[in-house]
């Protein structure tokens, strides 16, 4: 059973409460429909594409259907950007929040997670300030802070805020970041897909056994540091593959990373 079939989003059929504040927003919504034909194979496979009710799951890395969006001229679109409330032109990009009237803007899917964090679209990002930036955004966008505002703006707050949460989670974790990068390039990674490399499988089996048999935290810690070394190595090869745009190789690297990542999880659970 292919998981690609599992992508029909529930939220598409849900009540939506948003009214479009501008033509621009409507345009995004309609273009979004087209995007939902993209399959999302990452678990859990239920993708939520509906831009008017958009809250993504932690493990779900999607909302990446918009990789097709890169065809659109981003720059051209940004030129028309105006605040839905006071109509002023954004002071800075990405435009999630209007600095002049302090109102929250509707979600614009052409803004990707890297844009939100003002980072270059690359694997090796300086992640030390992610949390700071994340908090800065939340202070402007969090639904708790807009109690007195209109229902529409409260909805914008809910969507923007949860999108920033997802962006933060995705960029913080190297594996999630890698998958996201590939998706932005239009490459889908099926984490569940089994790797057919017998060597890797044998190695993973062996490690799993070692984890099972490990007595005491010393042995576990040793395995953990081994795994982290492997992951670091793979992480570097992903970066290289991605930079040289060898996406197939990058994809296989991600699948390998997933295996080690799971072993690490198991070890941490046992520790």
């Amino acid at each position: 059973m292919s998981k690609k079939k599992l992508c029909t989003p529930l939220s598409t059929f849900m009540r939506t409460s948003l009214t479009s504040p501008s033509d621009r927003f409507t345009k995004i919504s309609s273009s979004q429909i087209k995007f939902s034909t993209f399959a999302s194979p990452s678990p859990p496979p239920l993708a939520l594409y509906n831009p008017t009710f958009h809250k993504l799951g932690q493990y779900f890395l999607g909302d990446l259907g918009f990789c097709g969006k890169s065809i659109c001229s981003k720059a051209a679109e940004k030129l028309e950007l105006r605040c839905w409330n006071c109509h002023s032109v954004p002071e800075s990009l990405p435009f999630l929040f209007c600095e002049s009237c302090r109102s929250i803007q509707p979600v614009d899917k052409s803004v990707n997670y890297f844009d939100i964090f003002g980072s270059e679209k690359k694997y090796d990002i300086e992640d030390k300030n992610l949390e700071g930036k994340y908090k800065e955004w939340q202070k402007k966008l969090h639904p708790d802070l807009v109690h007195s505002k209109s229902k529409m703006e409260r909805d914008f707050a809910a969507e923007q805020s949860s999108r920033v949460i997802d962006a933060y989670r995705t960029l913080k974790k190297p594996l999630l970041r890698a998958i996201y990068l590939l998706k932005l390039e239009g490459v889908e990674v099926d984490e569940e897909q089994t790797v057919s490399d017998p060597e890797l499988l044998a190695e993973i089996m062996e490690i799993r056994e070692a984890v099972e048999e490990a007595d005491g935290s010393e042995a576990l810690k040793r395995i953990l540091s081994q795994m982290q070394d492997k992951l670091k190595h793979l992480s570097d090869s992903f970066d290289n593959a991605f930079q040289s745009r060898s996406f197939e190789e990058a994809k296989t690297t991600i699948q390998r990373m997933t295996y080690y990542e799971r072993v690490i999880e198991e070890v941490v659970k046992k520790l």
Partner: protein
């Protein structure tokens, strides 16, 4: 929702004043109803101020006494002595009893309180009664709490000279969503609107965030991120939070909580001093209640003294020829309560692990709550943090209510010219929410410590060929088996197209919005189709009401495994 029977007289004034409140937003008050003590605070325009009752007390005892026809609570009542409070006519520990069924161990542990807690052990609400004119008059924890809140509201209105409608209440981390609905109900009965229910340590995290913000303003620094661990242990509950704060924004990284508190320490000690106490007091006669009260008061005093002294003399005549004359050492107290203290330790360690924070990364360790005065509690925390100096600058008994008052001002949209309310707490879910699948397993859809707002999906499938219906049974908690968790509700997915087992995809989606409202959605999609086979169902949870303990059993009896589901993907 509002039950007119419990609204106070000023309710009519409120409706008259509603219009003006739109231009001048009403500042919500912060309320901390503890298992044993309660306090109220409000943002007065420049800082938090604790309200005092007519006897000039900031800390009031949480209880309601039923006498003749007029109940009176710990805010206004003039009970001269603890013994009077323990005469059988007073109900306390509401916070421990609320929203629990009669199979709950916490309810069973309440049976030796000096009022009536009766259980039938079938999963319905326990029978609770106060002795009025020699008759056991029944009541409910919600009712007792509502009466108490009415008094509290009247006190606040008298002092602030304005009607009070909006409140921010602190709640224990381990409260289930069902228990939250009981708290909301009690508030509605008292004519109060709940603006926010804040897990206690997150209220303290907010206060910490404010203090850090003020310090960084003073130092003209940008205010780098600070990580704090908060341990809050009161009479009824112990809670832990790990918070990361920067620039006034506090992200709750993890929460952990349990039903252990001073009440357990007290009961263990009472059992130690008088091993046969439980059977002696079981009959709940007037004499027995009196003896029980005497023992309770004497034990309480002893525990309090043991915080500053290494041994204490317990000398009490319980009547009926029962006398206790014993020297109790601090080490005995610690030994008797070893399990409670071990639990405290494991809660803190679990919370640090969940937050993925190392002991060395914690900038500040905050311990608050009534039990924070106990040397052993301090020792446990200090040994986990390798002797690190504990955070000062927070009143252990007032921290939670102060945080609630700050949240009350922030949530009411009040701004402060000095930026003292320029704050935000990003909450996380304290308990996992999931459904029954793969037999009697609890499969979490939203794991614990997920940042709110959150939305997650999982896919399930049928276990029988041509299974046309499936039961979605929603639970909240941490246990692997459904029985170990709190039932939140259930509904049936119908009209699944005939297909071999394992083919229909049953999407279960859970959504928690910023207001902490949980919605569960479910729909069936057949492979190859992009449309759901039937209308998607959306259910706001919890839906269960009283007697939720036996609902799950009844469902199982009626349907067996005919409507069961299994997960499609093994979770990584």
């Amino acid at each position: 929702m509002a039950e007119p029977a419990y609204t106070v007289a000023s309710d009519s004034e409120t409706t008259g004043e509603e219009k003006s409140s739109s231009t001048f937003p009403e500042i919500a008050i912060g309320v901390d109803i503890g298992t044993s003590q309660c306090s109220v605070a409000v943002w007065n325009g420049s800082q938090v101020e604790l309200l005092k009752n007519t006897r000039n007390q900031k800390m009031m005892k949480s209880y309601v006494t039923f006498k003749d026809d007029i109940p009176s609570g710990g805010i206004s009542s003039l009970l001269s002595h603890d013994h009077e409070m323990l005469s059988g006519s007073t109900i306390f520990n509401m916070k421990r009893l609320i929203g629990r069924v009669d199979t709950d161990p916490v309810v069973h542990a309440s049976k030796n309180l000096p009022f009536l807690v009766q259980t039938l052990d079938i999963g319905v609400r326990p029978f609770i009664a106060a002795l009025v004119n020699n008759v056991w008059r029944s009541t409910t924890p919600e009712e007792v709490l509502a009466i108490f809140l009415v008094e509290l509201r009247a006190m606040a209105e008298a002092q602030l000279k304005r009607p009070i409608r909006n409140v921010v209440l602190t709640i224990p981390v381990s409260f289930s969503r069902f228990q939250l609905t009981r708290i909301e109900r009690a508030c509605a009965m008292a004519g109060l609107r709940v603006l926010r229910l804040m897990p206690e340590p997150t209220a303290i995290a907010l206060l910490y965030g404010q203090q850090q913000q003020q310090t960084s303003h003073e130092n003209m620094g940008s205010g780098s991120e600070k990580i704090a661990l908060i341990f809050n242990m009161g009479a009824g509950y112990a809670d832990v939070a790990v918070t990361a704060t920067a620039g006034g924004v506090s992200q709750i990284k993890a929460l952990a909580g349990n039903t252990i508190g001073g009440e357990d320490l007290l009961q263990n000690m009472m059992r130690y001093l008088l091993p046969e106490s439980e059977s002696l007091f079981e009959s709940h006669g007037v004499k027995e209640i009196e003896s029980m009260a005497l023992l309770r008061v004497a034990t309480q005093d002893a525990i309090r003294k043991l915080s500053s002294e290494t041994s204490v003399q317990v000398d009490v005549d319980l009547g009926n020829g029962l006398k206790i004359c014993k020297v109790v050492g601090r080490n005995e107290f610690e030994q008797v309560n070893r399990k409670v203290f071990e639990k405290c330790e494991s809660l803190i360690i679990q919370c640090l692990q969940d937050a993925k924070v190392e002991v060395e990364d914690v900038n500040d360790v905050i311990i608050v709550g009534g039990c924070s005065f106990i040397p052993k509690v301090k020792n446990i925390v200090s040994s986990i943090f390798k002797g690190k100096q504990l955070y000062e600058g927070m009143n252990p008994l007032e921290a939670a209510v102060r945080g609630a008052a700050v949240e009350g001002a922030v949530a009411s949209g009040i701004s402060d010219p000095f930026g003292n309310l320029d704050l935000l707490t990003i909450q996380a879910t304290p308990l996992a929410i999931g459904i029954q699948a793969d037999g009697k397993s609890f499969v979490p859809v939203i794991p614990r410590n997920t940042t709110i707002p959150a939305r997650k999906d999982l896919v399930f499938t049928t276990i029988h060929d041509n299974q046309r219906e499936a039961l979605i049974i929603v639970y909240e908690g941490e246990g692997d088996k459904v029985e170990e968790n709190h039932l939140l509700g259930y509904f049936k997915i119908m009209g699944i197209p005939a297909a071999p087992k394992g083919v229909p995809e049953i999407n279960v989606c859970m959504d928690i919005d910023a207001g902490n409202v949980l919605r569960v959605l479910a729909g069936v999609v057949m492979p190859g189709s992009r449309q759901p086979a039937n209308r998607v169902m959306e259910v706001r949870m919890p839906t269960v009401d009283d007697g939720h303990g036996w609902c799950a059993e009844a469902l199982h009896r009626a349907y067996g495994s005919t409507l069961d589901m299994v997960t499609v993907q093994k979770k990584a």
